[in-house]
């Protein structure tokens, strides 16, 4: 097992180098002189030379690549032009928002998706099956931004003043305040990596209010996440439901299932205990792979629902021509994606010993 994990890690290395290279290349291909981008069109020759000197832009490209990689390894992602702050600080603030949203969406998608997939495979061609597959087709076809806007219209306009109304944007209602995690734990003076971790956790409002018992704020944070999570979950939900259905149908056609039925095992048990266990593997892969769809979707979802996560950060930096931020966020999302797929691969090997032997 350990050998498998090591080999898998080794295989990831070239991909990571490739990602860094692609992002570096995109950054160097940007139109216009970075000096004018940063200092404005009226920057003088001298100040530009000083600028190039400072950021190592007068070095040959291979050396620049070396510096870029070195900075990355030491955790330096550069400085945002728009905010004048280190990008890593911005990410610590905003990444938790996206992670929280993604976890919410993925939970909805997985639970509902597997449930619907099982229901439609167990009763193939029934009304449930046809309905689920119609929904799945519709789900992958409706653009995230259209669905998001329709949800807002329905829950914030049509259902306004009913108990089912949901807030259309933001993370908390006006007037709801949250005691930061570091303060709640009396660690304001703490510094260093541990503080970063605590701040990171503290920016996931649902989790931080839950562990500090701020119930009013907790409820408010959850309510604000429902609509964006539904909008974001639709595509993965549809994909998971489809995959569960087809994988389960394949397994249900196998001999051992017939044997189980012949032995008189009740159908419910055949499907849930005998078949589902063997059908779940491809579903796990799909769940890992939908992360790409989730991160793409987060860009649109956060933009529509006004959630300041990394998705909205991308949109804002496009408008503000904040190239270093776009570069850093692209890099981070790709690395995140690779990491999750690594985890999926390893968990796959845990679930199915045959894979380790290959």
């Amino acid at each position: 097992m350990i050998q498998f994990i090591l080999r898998r890690l080794l295989l990831t290395l070239p991909v990571l180098v490739g990602i860094v290279f692609v992002v570096f290349a995109i950054a160097r291909l940007l139109p216009g002189d970075p000096c004018f981008q940063a200092l404005g069109q009226r920057a003088t020759q001298e100040s530009c030379e000083a600028f190039d000197e400072r950021y190592g832009l007068n070095e040959p490209i291979p050396v620049q690549f070396g510096i870029f990689v070195g900075d990355l390894l030491s955790g330096d992602l550069g400085t945002s032009i728009a905010y004048g702050r280190p990008i890593s600080d911005i990410l610590i603030e905003r990444m938790p928002v996206t992670i929280e949203l993604t976890i919410f969406a993925l939970t909805i998608a997985t639970m509902l998706g597997i449930g619907l997939g099982v229901a439609s495979a167990a009763r193939r061609n029934s009304r449930v099956d046809v309905g689920t597959m119609m929904f799945a087709n519709f789900g992958v076809s409706i653009p995230v931004f259209v669905l998001g806007l329709i949800l807002i219209f329905f829950f914030a306009v049509v259902l306004k003043d009913t108990p089912f109304a949901l807030p259309p944007s933001g993370r908390l209602s006006a007037g709801v305040l949250i005691v930061p995690l570091a303060e709640a734990w009396g660690l304001q003076d703490l510094d260093g990596p541990l503080r970063v971790v605590i701040d990171f956790l503290g920016n996931m409002y649902v989790i931080s209010t839950l562990i500090t018992g701020q119930w009013a704020a907790f409820g408010d944070a959850v309510v604000h996440l429902i609509l964006p999570a539904i909008a974001l979950a639709t595509i993965p939900l549809a994909l998971i439901a489809r995959m569960t259905r087809s994988s389960l149908l394949e397994v249900l056609g196998q001999d051992y299932i017939r044997t189980a039925r012949a032995k008189g095992v009740i159908e419910r048990r055949v499907v849930l205990r005998h078949a589902l266990r063997n059908a779940i593997l491809p579903v796990v892969t799909v769940i890992g792979l939908t992360l790409g769809a989730l991160l793409s979707g987060a860009v649109l979802t956060e933009t529509i629902f006004g959630l300041t996560g990394i998705g909205l950060t991308i949109t804002q930096s496009i408008l503000g021509r904040d190239y270093p931020v776009i570069q850093a966020v692209t890099l981070i999302t790709a690395i995140l994606y690779v990491t999750v797929n690594l985890v999926v691969d390893v968990s796959y090997a845990f679930l199915d010993p045959r894979i380790r032997l290959e």
Binding site: P14, V15, G18, I19, F21, V22, V23, I26, L29, L30, P31, N137, F138, V140, S141, I142, P143, V144, F145, V146, L149, I150, I152, F153, V157, I235, L239, S246, L249, E250, P282, T285, V286, L289, T290, L291, G292, A293, L295, S296, G297, V299, L300, T303, I314, T315, I318, L319, Y323, I326, Q327, V329, T330, T333, A334, Y337, V338, N341
Partner: protein
């Protein structure tokens, strides 16, 4: 984000393990009933319920695109609402048959913020989306199939290097990479199409590679080689035409994804620029009117959904009909 193409990207990743299934049809089977292949294929496609629905939706989309100037009631870019002096209350949908007062000028989907007829814009948007989807996927397939075909045909180090490069592009979330590319190229519909196309290349490279790998081993290829045909000749004249089927399926599903993603880029202001009647940018323009004029978003939104649904359903039907291995 869907995201259609993500679906496609998933498929590309999960399918690489096995080789393309169509090659498993023995050549004799096809030879026994000459000339029937296309008719058989068409028949089995039309047997699929999803393909039938997809075909109907696509027919509507294509007809609308071709006849846009005939179907549209107004010039899509003319501020007719302002010329007609519509009051704020009159900007909503007005259809005389459904009881809208005859004295008020007819606008099926109302007029937008700039006084333009939304129905006409939605109708003309069909042209843009169809053109965007087909062209983007065509570009990606062209490059992807050459890369994948060469990788499979030459094998060894070339295969390894080419496919590892493709892998790197495949690990970026589609929309995020597309955004990064558009920021390099500059906003615009063509650049958005290039970005989405580039992002999709690895998908087709993988599909083509798998397909070529299996076709390569067939007898007629050995025969061509024995007859002394050149390497490129074998690849482009003998193998490619026989390895196209999985690509056609992936391409059809890919068009759905391309339409979605270009619309998403346009929604973010990176794709189609005003005043072009493109569905994504129409939604972006009137997004803030959601609360008092939801039809301005629903009309282009539903048009987008229906077009994408059409390609998805038809693609699914194609796959089931053309690829017996995937029959469910």
């Amino acid at each position: 984000m869907s995201f259609g193409p993500s679906d496609n990207r998933l498929a590309a990743r999960t399918e690489t393990a096995g080789d393309a299934g169509l090659a498993s049809i023995a050549p004799e089977t096809l030879a026994a009933r000459p000339g029937n292949l296309w008719r058989d294929t068409a028949k089995s496609i039309l047997r699929q319920r999803s393909a039938q629905v997809g075909l109907v939706l696509l027919t509507v989309l294509i007809t609308t695109a071709i006849l846009a100037p005939v179907i549209a009631t107004h010039d899509p870019n003319e501020a007719v609402g302002i010329e007609e002096g519509l009051t704020a209350a009159q900007k909503g949908p007005c259809i005389h048959l459904l009881g809208c007062r005859e004295s008020q000028p007819q606008h099926y989907f109302g007029v937008d913020r700039n006084g333009r007829d939304v129905f006409s814009r939605v109708v003309h948007g069909a042209r843009v989306s169809l053109y965007v989807g087909v062209l983007t996927v065509g570009f990606a397939i062209l490059i992807g199939s050459v890369v994948g075909g060469i990788a499979a045909f030459l094998g060894g180090a070339v295969d390894n290097v080419l496919m590892r490069i493709m892998d790197v592009f495949l690990v970026f979330p589609a929309l995020v990479l597309a955004i990064a590319i558009v920021t390099v190229l500059g906003a615009g519909l063509i650049n958005a199409q290039i970005a989405i196309g580039v992002v999709a290349i690895p998908v087709y490279a993988r599909v083509m590679r798998a397909s070529v790998l299996s076709v390569r081993e067939r007898d007629f290829v050995t025969a061509s080689r024995a007859l002394g045909e050149s390497g490129p000749g074998i690849l482009f004249r003998r193998i490619f035409p026989n390895a196209m089927t999985p690509l056609i399926v992936a391409g059809t599903l890919g068009i759905a994804g391309a339409i979605l993603e270009v619309a998403a880029l346009s929604f973010l202001g990176l794709g189609a620029q005003p005043p072009l009647a493109e569905w994504g940018s129409m939604i972006a323009l009137d997004r803030n009117q959601l609360f008092n004029a939801p039809w301005l978003i629903l009309a282009p939104g539903m048009a987008l959904t229906i077009s994408v649904l059409g390609f998805n359903l038809f693609g699914d039907g194609l796959r089931d009909a053309l690829d017996p291995r995937l029959n469910r």
